[in-house]
Each structure stands twice: as C-alpha cells, then as structure tokens.
Amino acid sequence: MAALETRECETEGCNSEAKLQCPTCIKLGIQGSYFCSQECFKGSWSTHKLLHKKAKDVVNCVEQDTNTDPWPGYRYTGKLRPHYPLTPKRPVPGSIQRPDYADHPMGMSESEQSLKGTSQIKILTNDEIEGMQTVCKLAREVLDIAALMVKPGVTTEEIDHAVHLACTARNCYPSPLNYYNFPKSCCTSVNEVICHGIPDRRALQEGDILNVDITVFHNGYHGDLNETFFVGEVDEGAKRLVQTTYECLMQAIDAVKPGVRYRELGNIIQKHAQASGFSVVRSYCGHGIHKLFHTAPNVPHYAKNKAVGVIKPGHVFTIEPMICEGGWQDETWPDGWTAVTRDGKRSAQFEHTLLVTETGCDILTRRLDDNGRAHFLSFM
C-alpha cells in the first residue's frame, strides 16, 4: 500500500505539486480537491464552488422526507449515502422455526457464543447433510427471486421485502433478521459497500453494481449465498471487477478437496485478484455454516493467513471473496454494519455454501437453471 502519492494541483493548466485540500470538499465528501496554494485556489474558486453547490443539491434532495444525512460530521468515503428512515421490523409468522438469536434482545446467538474460539470443525452426518441440501436449495430460490428485481428505480428495501416474503413462503426464517440486531432480512451492498449493506429507501441507479446476500434458516439449518448484479448498463470496469470476483470464487471452489488446508484458499483468491490489479478484503472471511450461522472454520480470502484446519469430507463452509477496484482497507458506517472501502472505490462479492465430499465438494447453493451460470453472465 503506497504511502503518500504526489498529487497535482486541480487548477486547469497548473501542474504544481498539491499539498493542500479544500475543506468544504472534505465536509461534502468530494474526493480529490487538491491545490498547490491558496492563491491558485482563489483563482479557480468561481468554477470550483460549483462542485460544492452540485454536491449540496444531491444531499439536500428530499424525496418524501428521506434523510440522507443521519450522521452529521461523518465523512463518507464515496458517493453512496444511507436513505432513512427504514420501514419497521418485518414480522415472521410464528409457525416458522426461529434461530436462537431471533428473540434475543441484542440478537446474540448463545449457541454460537458457546463455541466461540474453538477451531474444531463439525463433520456432518447424512441426515445433517440432507438438511443442508434442502436449506441451500431454498436459499438459492430466494436469491433468484431477488435477482429478477434488480433494475434502476427499485429500492433495496423493496428487494428486501420480496426476499422476506419469499423466505416465509418457503417456511424459512431470514437468517440476517435480528442477527446481532441487524434490522433487515438480507444484505444489499451497492458499489463501494463491501458487505452488510442495510436495505433502505435508496433507488438503484443505472450503472450501479449490487450484491444481494441471502441466508435462510429452515428446519434447524442455515444456507448462505450471494451474487453481485448489474443495475442496467454498467461500465467496463464494473464488468471486469464482477467477472474477476466470480472467477476468484470458482477457482477457490475448484481447489476444495480433502487434505487441502483452509489457509490455502486465500492464496488462490489473492493471486487471481492481484493479477487483474484488484485487491482482496481482509476483514471479512468465509465461515463454517450448518446449525449455526457462523462457526468454525474461519476462511480468510487473503494470502499467507494462519487459518487453522484441513478440509475433510463432511465439512460445510462458505467461501465469499470481496474484491476491490482500489485498496482493500475497509471502514464501517456509524450504523455499525455497512462496510465500505476506505477509498470509495467499488467492491464485488460472490458466495457459495459448499459440502466437502471424498473427492472434492458439492456446491449446495448452485443455480439449478440456466446451466448454473451466475446471473451477471447473461448481461456481459
């Protein structure tokens, strides 16, 4: 990661090294307003201030009392803003089996907490495997429904609503709901959001990339998957990012077989991402999943990690690389969930839940129609 790159003054025609920044731009979240001196800045002030006006207009835009500035003073890393308020918590019919955290006031999972820190990986019995096969198929159905909704003008809350209904219709509890107090039934991550985006009132815009992460709980088991979609027409950079991310996941899956160390998967992913000039998010990793939403093993996606464990038949876990156009560093919004890239550049992700067999693995969350292709491939 480079330290300080030398920057050039923004003023038209001026190529001097810039060591100063416009403070109003910082406040408004406008990137890269660098100038070499106050005089030079004053010279371009009449055109520069138009940037401020433009940004303020965007911020002040109030559609039906939408609040896009819930945390005054917070410096956003990119253009995305939350669009509050959120709709009230959606209820789940009482007949549907609930995970332990669903009714905990802080959304804590006692079952997960009791196993915290252990690296013992569960080997599933045939019955448990059947349970996982079923729930993963259902999770896939829900994602496919969400995929159909992705187009400009649709809000992420509308997608979340459809997801919520699709879950309950299949007798599933939407796993993210109330997990450590997460307020919605799925995660929707737009552009610079790496993961854990909260569905809100924001309408998708042409050119966005959107990841929808679905996890459902059925009959005591969780199934987890996600895909990144194009919203309308996207630029070449977005296509390259999404394609590479998908390849990272598939290459890692190809390597999964008994005897391989979990820590090896990160080497494969990072190698491929870096070859295309992209970086790998370090803070979030793949995880074991079955009766617990998140459990051992821990599967980092970056190279040279110290993950403990060797892949064995009967293990079930996810691989979910998050790949970025710029740097890998992340930060979290004041909502405590939304993870964004520090440099505001875009990030894509793909995820599958895998079952290890004697010779390799089964992709439990694979798509059953369209030859198993990820949705974005139809739009390349």
């Binding site: 990661m1 330290a3 300080l4 920057r7 810039a18 060591k19 100063l20 920044q21 416009c22 403070p23 109003t24 910082i26 660098y34 100038f35 001196s37 106050q38 800045f41 004053k42 002030w45 201030k49 401020h52 006006k53 303020k56 802080m106 804590m108 997960e112 907490q113 915290k116 820190g117 690296s119 997990y179 450590y180 997460f182 854990h196 160390r261 370090r282 803070s283 979030y284 990793c285 793949g286 995880h287 939403f293 998140h294 821990n298 980092p300 970056y302 190279a303 040279k304 990690n305 110290k306 403990v308 464990g309 060797v310 979910e320 560093q329 979290t332 909502d335 405590g336 969930w337 520090r342």
Partner: protein, 366 residues
C-alpha cells in the same frame, strides 16, 4: 451559508500509516495478588513520557457494549472507551477487541504501548491469539509478548492445585505461555523456597526468561519490546535454543519443555504436515496413549531451498513459519532446533516424527 466565500485550504489528510509504526501489545497475566497491578503502575510511572494504554481484564464474552481503558500520558491517567459492539461479530477476521483498539487509535491518536492485564483465570493463549494477527491484515498493533507475574510465596500452591477433569491448571498454563516470568515478592521467601520455585517453573517452561523482583520493580527494557512473536527476536532466540534442555516434570501431570535438535534440511511440505498433525489433528500421542497437547512452540529451522533461517512460532493451534533476515553461514552446519512446551509430550516420539520431515537421500535424487 457563506458558500460564496473562498475558504482557507487545509493540509492533505494522510491516509494509512505504513506498517513501520506498529504498536506493541504486552499481555500481563498472573494470579490475583501476584503483583500485576503493581507492575503496571510501575511501568506507567517509569515511562511517563510515553502514551500508554492499559486495558484491564481482557475482553468478555461479547456481552459488553463498551470497555474502559486507562491512558497514561505525561504523568496523567485518564479514561477512554472502547466501542465493542460494532455489528457483525461473525465473519470478521479481526477480533472485536482488536478492532475497537484500532478504531480508538484512529480517532484519538496512537499509543506507544498497549498493556493488557488479564484476570487470574484467563487463558493468555486465547488472548494472545486475538492479537497475533496475520501480517497481511496490516494491523496497527502487534503482539509483543506475554509477561507472567507469580508470587514467590504462593505460587507452589497454585501450581500444584488439582483441577477437576484433569484440566490444565491456570497457573501452570500462565507459566507455560510466558515469554518473561517475573517471580515477585522474593523478599517474602527463603532462598531455599525461591530455588524450588525457580526449578519448578523452569521445568514447565525451559525457554522463558526469569526475573526476580520485590514489589515488581524491574528493568523495563527487559519487559517491553520483547518481540517474542516476530522475527526481530531471531538472534536472541537462536542463542536461547542452543542452551535450552528438555525438562523433567517436577509436578504430576505437568506441563514440560521438550527440545529437539537435528541437523539437516527439512521439506517445507512435510514440516507443515508434522506441525498440523501435532497442533490441529492432535494425532501424536505419548507412550501411554494420551494425545500430546502443545501450548507453545518455537524453533529455528533450515528449510530446503531457503538460504535464510526460518522461524517457527506457535501458540495453541495457531502457527507461523517466517523467513528471518538471518542467513545460514556458508560454513555453518545447518541444525534445526525446536522447543515444545505442553502436556503429555514425549521426546522420543517427537524426535521420530520430526525426522520424517528431514530430507533424505531419496529426496536429493530428484
């Protein structure tokens, strides 16, 4: 709003600092009353020009929303708060406590040292794992070492206490994991009793450096900047490994230290399998059939194809092999030295297993 007025430019905000400004975390453990707090206060007073964070009682089981820590600066002590509950505890690689510390430093500036005092019942290995993060994570902190303080008068009693279910007794584990052991309150015991303590702790942990103090007064250069988990300590480790000998248990069902020394080059692949079998699969058993349980592992190895000495570090199940800047000398015989600290260790079996990692004549033919 006077947006018409041209504002004063401000200096460009620096982005992330390079890894060169990492902050050491020292874990201080020991039973209640041994003198940990006295040691901490002593460090804070002596190092009054530095900005030091002191965290008491390691992070709880996810129920706390916030945790207080004390910051000492310019002789003043004030309180700060770590926000622990930041959303997803699940698929996050870094421990919540670690992230909380990093966030705090980002907001309020970096510390020079971080001291983490754990409760008497804590497993310092688990706390160490929190901070022994992969270099690739580019964390602002690094694990410097584990300092255990024991009470010269009561430690024998604490070490011999039997636990139900044959679990390892905490006092013994704290000694086993120590990079530095401070035997405190030496003024309260006789020379004979002190010798007994020295011998007993030495039998548990053959690698640890031992300091003897009264009122926890130590030379701080021995306590801070230990670099016990990274390659900066390689020269000292090299020397230490040549001196350490296998120990015999002084106490029943005890933890002891086993050393293995063997010339030759090892195959990196087979070495990884050996360590995995030992630490993860726990396949290696002693002659009575009990699986060996390694708590701490350190070594310097000669790996086939590498001209630099390779350092091996392990705590519980975490381990790391890292090339050090020290090269093997041209004329120097390449000798692998490993030290294992743990329970049910059997030197003969460990030696035999380690031998399988060495390159033999068949390997060199390819």
């Amino acid at each position: 709003m006077d947006e018409e007025d041209c504002p004063e430019l401000v200096p460009i905000e620096k982005t992330t600092d390079g890894p060169s400004s990492q902050i050491p975390v020292t874990i201080i453990t020991g039973y209640l009353g041994a003198g940990k707090t006295t040691l901490l206060n002593y460090i804070l007073t002596e190092q009054h020009s530095k900005r030091i964070a002191v965290i008491l009682n390691e992070f709880g089981e996810g129920s706390a929303l916030e945790k207080s820590l004390a910051v000492s600066q310019a002789g003043e002590l004030y309180e700060e708060w770590l926000e622990l509950r930041n959303g997803c505890l699940c698929c996050s690689v870094k421990d919540n406590g670690l992230k909380a510390i990093e966030n705090l430093m980002e907001k309020k500036g970096k510390f020079d040292y971080i001291l983490l005092e754990t409760t008497g019942l804590a497993d310092p290995g688990a706390v160490a794992s929190m901070f022994w993060v992969d270099a690739e994570l580019g964390s602002d902190v690094y694990l410097d070492g584990i300092v255990t303080v024991i009470d010269a008068k009561y430690t024998m009693q604490q070490l011999t206490e039997e636990k139900p279910d044959g679990l390892v007794n905490e006092a013994t584990r704290q000694v086993a994991l120590a990079d530095l052991l401070i035997i405190n309150k030496t003024d309260l015991v006789s020379e004979q009793e002190l010798r007994k303590v020295r011998d007993t702790v030495g039998s548990i942990n053959g690698l640890v450096r031992i300091l003897e103090t009264q009122k926890a007064r130590v030379d701080l250069s021995q306590v801070l900047d230990l670099h016990s988990f990274d390659i900066k300590d390689v020269t000292r480790l090299s020397e230490k490994l040549q001196l350490v000998k296998s120990t015999h248990p002084h106490l029943d069902k005890s933890i002891l230290t086993v050393t293995v020394e063997m010339p030759g080059d090892v195959s990196e692949d087979r070495l990884n399998l050996f360590i995995q079998d030992l630490l993860w699969e726990k396949n290696l058993k002693n002659k009575e059939g009990s699986p060996m349980h390694v708590i701490r592992l350190k070594g310097i190895l000669s790996i086939e194809g590498k001209g630099q000495r390779v350092m091996l570090q392990g705590v519980h199940e975490l381990y790391e092999l890292e090339e050090t800047p020290e090269a093997w000398g041209q004329e120097e015989p390449r000798v692998n030295r490993l030290v294992f600290i743990g329970r049910y260790l059997d030197r003969d079996i460990l030696r035999a297993q380690f031998t399988t990692t060495l390159l033999n004549k068949e390997d060199s033919k390819t």
